[in-house]
């Protein structure tokens, strides 16, 4: 996979207004996504994953805006694309799958109507023809009895079925990029696997690049080629999926992996990372994770770490900083917590 990236995000920063203040959205996010690749984006709620996905598709809410940075998609900078250009891309080249399909599908329109509308936004064929295309796509995502399903309303379907419908709509126009925002958060574990498998399968068949966003590392681990770990709007670690699970570099990634639900421990309360994500109101001087990090030192809350390369990965942590890092010296400073 040495082709040009289909999506290249460079130093993307957003903000939003609330209560008359300008608040931090995402900060300085960079990554590349090549054709047919799957990039998983993980982080707790409030880490800015969804903001990132809405920024790419330019569907940010009214009070939010892109402050700086670039989003290059097939040679076009989406940060400066006109609304008309964006409309042409959306649905056709960039498709989205949202969390909570019940509220994301129109409650008063049939599944078929919504699928046909999505098709007609970019083509001018007949309704009948699109009905058939829609039925065909429903069958491909594993929905039987398609003729009847097309006439049903979202609330008449099960949760898993609705998410399949969302995916079917997203794939209708064979997009180059599929952004799936928490595609499985509303589903139980057995369905999660099926949905992720479905997304991965289409990558194989259609060569679609996929951005899967989830708070759940398990979801990401089963499908993604690469993983971007986000925290408080910043990128913490970007690495090959296998690598990140075997050798997580950032203390935050390590914590995330340590609290991954273990099937053998089912029924016990889920372990969580102590502390909380800093709110958008708080100004962060040093490392965003410093307040919760088990290995934090003075430098962590004083200076913002760089997103520096370590092997094939990149990580934003003072431990690995080429200048100030203490990765290989154990003598220098003891962890602040230990004193």
């Amino acid at each position: 996979m040495t082709t040009q990236p289909i999506l290249s995000v460079e130093a993307l920063t957003t903000n939003y207004r609330a209560d008359g203040m300008s608040l931090r959205g995402i900060k300085d996010i960079s990554f590349d996504l090549k054709r047919g690749e799957i990039l998983g984006i993980v982080g707790e709620s409030g880490s800015g994953k969804s903001t990132l996905s809405f920024a790419i598709s330019r569907l940010l809410p009214e009070n939010a805006q892109i402050e700086s940075g670039q989003i290059e998609f097939s040679g076009l900078d989406l940060t400066i694309a006109s609304p008309k250009e964006m409309r042409r891309l959306r649905g056709d080249k960039i498709a989205m799958v949202f969390q909570d399909p019940l509220s994301s599908l129109h409650p008063c329109l049939t599944i078929g109507r919504q699928m046909v509308d999505a098709l007609r936004a970019h083509n001018s064929g007949s309704r009948k023809e699109y009905q058939n295309l829609a039925a065909d796509m429903l069958a491909r995502v594993g929905i039987g009895n398609t003729g009847q399903r097309l006439r049903q309303y979202p609330h008449e379907l099960s949760g898993g079925m609705r998410q399949r419908v969302m995916i079917a709509i997203a794939l209708l126009l064979r997009p180059d990029l599929l952004i799936a925002d928490e595609p499985t958060s509303a589903l139980d574990v057995s369905l999660q696997g099926q949905i992720i498998g479905l997304l991965a399968g289409f990558r194989e068949k259609l060569g679609t690049s996929v951005l899967i966003i989830s708070h759940d590392l398990t979801v990401i681990s089963s499908a993604a080629d690469f993983v971007l770990v986000m925290y408080a709007g910043e990128s913490m670690e970007l690495a090959n999926a296998e690598e990140i699970f075997r050798h997580p570099l950032h203390p935050y990634t390590q914590s995330l992996i340590s609290v991954m639900p273990d099937r053998r421990l089912r029924g016990k309360p889920l372990p969580t990372i102590p502390g909380r994500v800093p709110s958008a109101h708080e100004t962060i001087v040093g490392c965003a994770f410093a307040g919760r990090c088990p290995q934090t030192r003075h430098v962590c809350s004083a200076e913002r770490p760089q997103f520096s390369a370590v092997g094939l990965s990149r990580v934003r942590c003072h431990i690995y900083d080429p200048q100030s890092g203490w990765l290989f010296d154990t003598e220098a400073e003891k962890p602040a917590a230990a004193r």
Partner: protein, 316 residues
């Protein structure tokens, strides 16, 4: 659904029954001889006697009420005691004019008010939104007869663009339509403001909904998103209000018909009041109330049809 419909129909029957008992017995609530009250103290004794027997006022009150209700259910609302024509026939003759006026007014209100509301919501807090809000509240508080008189002054008297008097005749449809413009607009103005306000509030709520964002992710045009996806849901609470709307329009129509000299339920009512023609007054009141409850029911049913989620709940 059938249970719901049954309940609603039962309620409607109860409401109309009470209203007819009220209207049937109303004349006896007023102290004094009902005939003298109706005819005035100067009526001759023989005429008073004939009116008394024609209206059945010589029978016991309970029988009178039962007679009236029984007659009303069978489409007999009594006789005009001046011309002796059946009230039902008199009402039937003018009702089409009033219905056309009210429905045109409501149609204008929807055609103008809904897009104004959508535009306001889409461009919330813009200068135009604020202007629309100011115009809306002004229109809402404008009594229908003030709207009618101002339109009459401007377009019929001063500019003389449109005819001022009469409803015209069905045999001359173009003339009829021209004579419909000012009165129906006068009726509509308040509702234009009201619907614009209501639609704006409802749209603002819907525009933030997840499924509107989904529609955007399809690459649909803004117009389609606003008028098909968002308005489709935003219109549901508006429809519920329209049922009440027609009733209010019928009340306003009295003034409008008098001001523009149109034949209709309103002028019939007005003339009947001037001559204290009680059977006609009572008949019009019954018809107006019936129209009100029926349109209310229709609005309620279409409200349910528009929202498939309620449809399912109603089925089970």
């Amino acid at each position: 659904m059938m249970i719901y419909l049954g309940k609603r129909l039962g309620m409607i029957a109860a409401v109309l029954l009470i209203l007819m008992v009220f209207l049937g017995g109303l004349i006896h609530l007023v102290p004094g001889d009902p005939v003298k009250i109706i005819m005035g103290p100067l009526a001759s004794d023989s005429f008073a006697a004939s009116v008394r027997s024609e209206m059945g006022l010589d029978k016991p009150i309970a029988i009178q009420m039962l007679d009236f209700i029984f007659g009303a259910v069978h489409g007999d609302l009594g006789k005009d005691f001046v011309s002796h024509r059946p009230v039902t026939v008199m009402i039937g003759g003018v009702l089409p004019h009033t219905m056309i006026l009210a429905v045109t007014g409501l149609g204008l209100a929807i055609l103008i008010g809904l897009p104004l509301g959508v535009y306001s919501a889409v461009h919330a807090n813009s200068a135009i939104d604020k202007a629309i809000a100011s115009v809306s509240i002004t229109l809402i508080t404008l009594p229908p007869y003030v709207a009618g008189l101002l339109l009459l002054l401007t377009f019929a008297v001063t500019l003389a663009w449109l005819p001022a008097l009469g409803a015209g005749n069905f045999s001359a449809p173009l003339d009829y339509a021209a004579r419909l413009i000012l009165p129906s607009l006068a009726l509509a103005l308040g509702w234009i403001g009201y619907l614009a306000r209501l639609t704006r509030a409802s749209m603002l709520e819907i525009l933030g909904a997840n499924y509107v964002r989904t529609a955007r992710s399809f690459g649909l045009s803004d117009t389609r998103i606003h008028y098909l996806y968002a308005l489709r849901s935003a219109v549901i609470p508006v429809v519920a209000v329209l049922g009440v709307g027609l009733g209010h329009l019928l009340g306003g129509a009295i003034f409008i018909e008098v001001i523009f000299g149109r034949q209709g339920l309103g002028t019939l009512f007005y003339d009947a009041i001037a001559t204290r023609n009680f059977p006609v007054i009572r008949g019009v009141a019954v018809v107006v109330a019936t129209l009100f409850v029926v349109t209310n029911l229709l609005a309620d049913l279409s409200y349910r049809l528009l929202d498939p989620r309620i449809r399912v709940e109603a089925k089970t």
